[in-house]
């Protein structure tokens, strides 16, 4: 039942405009055509949007993994002035809706001359309070004795972090990677505002502009576009589904 819309999407994407407008509408395409897909790959250059989405998502994930685990480690295992305040601020911003920051963020990005650049799409999402929280919670469970032993053996903090802490943190890192990737791939409001010309559109922005623009009634084309937008993420999900569900559940159980 829940997958019916996807089946409809897939089947519809092979139909011609004439067949889709024809009523009553059967499930299977009478004369399947790749025309809609050809249009996306050819004239509409979906490849470029795909590359944009990948660049933004991958860099956002890498940034989150690195920066959230670093600050998470400091918060979990080090003692320093300002620690409580830092953690408090992280927690306080967990519930801030994106729309609260996006107006000043746009002003800031404009001032920095970054409108319509990759940094504008990536920088605001390069760290996340949820990521910090996840990493800190997990790292607190690492026994101090393990780290002390390494320090006594003469390892420095960076060394301990890289060769002891990070390898132990694979589960939260995987969770963080999945959540960040999903969030970035499907992110909409900010890219819609920050990407102002076609060469920086991400997949959802491109699809939404086509679906509300002059192609708004070309359903076969839009369905094919929708298929292309979700295929990478669905493929990833089917391969890693166990991790995916665990990730989402873990943000819940905290």
């Amino acid at each position: 039942m829940t997958l019916l819309p996807f089946a409809w999407m897939l089947l519809g994407s092979f139909k011609t405009q004439g067949e889709i407008l024809h009523s009553p509408n059967g499930w299977l395409p009478h004369s399947p055509t790749l025309g809609n897909y050809r249009m996306w790959f050819g004239q509409l250059q979906i490849g470029a949007y795909f590359v944009n989405s990948v660049i933004v998502a991958v860099l956002t994930v890498l940034g989150n993994l690195a920066f959230c685990s670093m600050v998470g480690y400091a918060l979990a295992k080090m003692d320093f002035p300002g620690k409580r305040l830092l953690f408090l601020m992280v927690m306080a911003t967990l519930m801030v809706p994106g729309v609260v920051t996006f107006v000043p963020l746009f002003v800031l990005v404009t001032k920095l001359g970054l409108v319509n650049t990759y940094p504008a799409l990536i920088l605001p999402f390069l760290t996340s309070p949820l990521g910090v929280f996840l990493m800190r919670q997990f790292m607190q469970e690492i026994p101090d004795s393990l780290l002390e032993a390494a320090y006594i053996d003469g390892a420095g903090t960076v060394r301990v972090f890289r060769s002891i802490v990070l390898p132990l943190c694979k589960p939260p890192l995987a969770t963080l990677a999945i959540l960040t990737f999903l969030g970035s791939w499907n992110n909409f409001l900010w890219p819609l505002v920050a990407a102002q010309s076609q060469d920086k559109y991400t997949l959802p922005v491109a699809l939404s502009l086509y679906s509300t623009g002059q192609n708004a009634t070309d359903y076969g084309l839009l369905l094919a576009g929708a298929v292309l937008v979700i295929t990478p993420i669905v493929a990833l999900f089917v391969c890693l589904q166990r991790f995916f569900t665990q990730s989402i559940a873990s943000t819940g159980i905290k």
Partner: protein, 304 residues
């Protein structure tokens, strides 16, 4: 690490100083990015909401006029904003209970057997969660057409379906339907994890005492599940209160503003260049989210 420092010989103060430095080095990238792209915008948004900041003021942000609470006052007198609050409230008040009931029913069904098809179920209920709402909306717009899939289904049951997305009274229910379909997977997984924590002994004891399945569900399972339900409700309300993408892609906020949400209103004001006004609207939403979460914590905690 803390103890390691204390155990070590040598001047403790120097050590501590070094640790502080190391800790801040570890925190630095996060602090910089978080400070510039989160904290700064968050505070400027608040500051902006007390000014008449417009898009033309971007080059001279300090020259804007301070207007105090005028923007907020104007918002509460703006019929369109009030409409967007009512719409968002409708979406939340109907959408959350509906999503929770559906998700809980599915979780209970899945928990009591059907382990063999678990993978299939996971893919089935989870695909909507991971896919882009923009892509999903394209299909739903099509399904919800007057002669679309949903109305074909309704016709088969003898019901004449409405023109969902072009009707002021049915556009919001249509968006809620899509939201339930999309979000029940997340909640189901969370509830399933909660259900697995319900002790089998309690169920068995109740069964020997002659409690039927309904009694056991309402007297044992549900109370134990309360924290999980709370969490689900909070997660959903934070998400549902920010309704935007569904209406942006499916109805453009229409027809006749019947699906204009608070976030959508803010986005529009931003588009008109009224930055101060948009910021004030977004802060009202923020306060709303915090309040709703607090109320939910209270309500579900106190009824022990």
């Amino acid at each position: 690490m803390v103890t390691a420092t204390r155990l070590a010989t040598g001047p403790v103060r120097a050590r501590r100083h070094k640790q502080t430095l190391t800790a801040w080095m570890f925190a630095l990238p996060f602090v910089l990015i978080f400070g510039v792209f989160m904290l700064l915008p968050l505070l400027s948004s608040l500051a902006m909401s007390f000014t008449d900041f417009r898009s033309s003021d971007v080059q001279t942000p300090l020259a804007v006029g301070f207007v105090g609470l005028d923007q907020y006052r104007a918002l509460f007198g703006d019929p369109l904003f009030l409409r967007s609050m009512v719409n968002t409230g409708y979406f939340v008040l109907v959408g959350i209970p509906l999503t929770m009931v559906v998700a809980l029913t599915l979780a209970v069904a899945l928990n009591s057997g059907i382990t063999r098809f678990r993978t299939a179920f996971r893919v089935g209920f989870y695909t909507p969660v991971v896919t882009s709402i923009v892509a999903v909306a394209v299909v739903w717009r099509f399904i919800l057409q007057p002669d679309g899939l949903l109305n074909d289904l309704l016709k088969a049951m003898g019901v004449d379906g409405p023109d969902w997305l072009n009707s002021t009274s049915w556009s919001m229910p249509a968006l809620i339907l899509v939201a339930v379909w999309r979000n029940m997977g997340t909640l189901m997984v969370i509830f399933l994890a909660g259900l697995q924590a319900v002790p089998v002994e309690a169920q068995e004891a109740a069964m020997t005492d002659g409690a039927n399945a309904w009694q056991r569900f309402f007297r044992i399972t549900l109370p134990i599940l309360r924290p999980t339900l709370l969490l689900g409700a909070v997660l959903l309300s934070v998400a549902y209160l920010q309704l935007f993408e569904e209406s942006f892609v499916m109805t453009k906020g229409g027809p006749l503003n019947s699906t204009l949400s608070v976030t959508y209103f803010t986005y529009n004001q931003f588009g008109f260049g009224k930055y101060g006004y948009a910021s004030a609207a977004s802060y009202i939403l923020f306060v709303g989210i915090v309040l709703v979460s607090l109320v939910q914590f209270r309500a579900l905690r106190s009824r022990v």
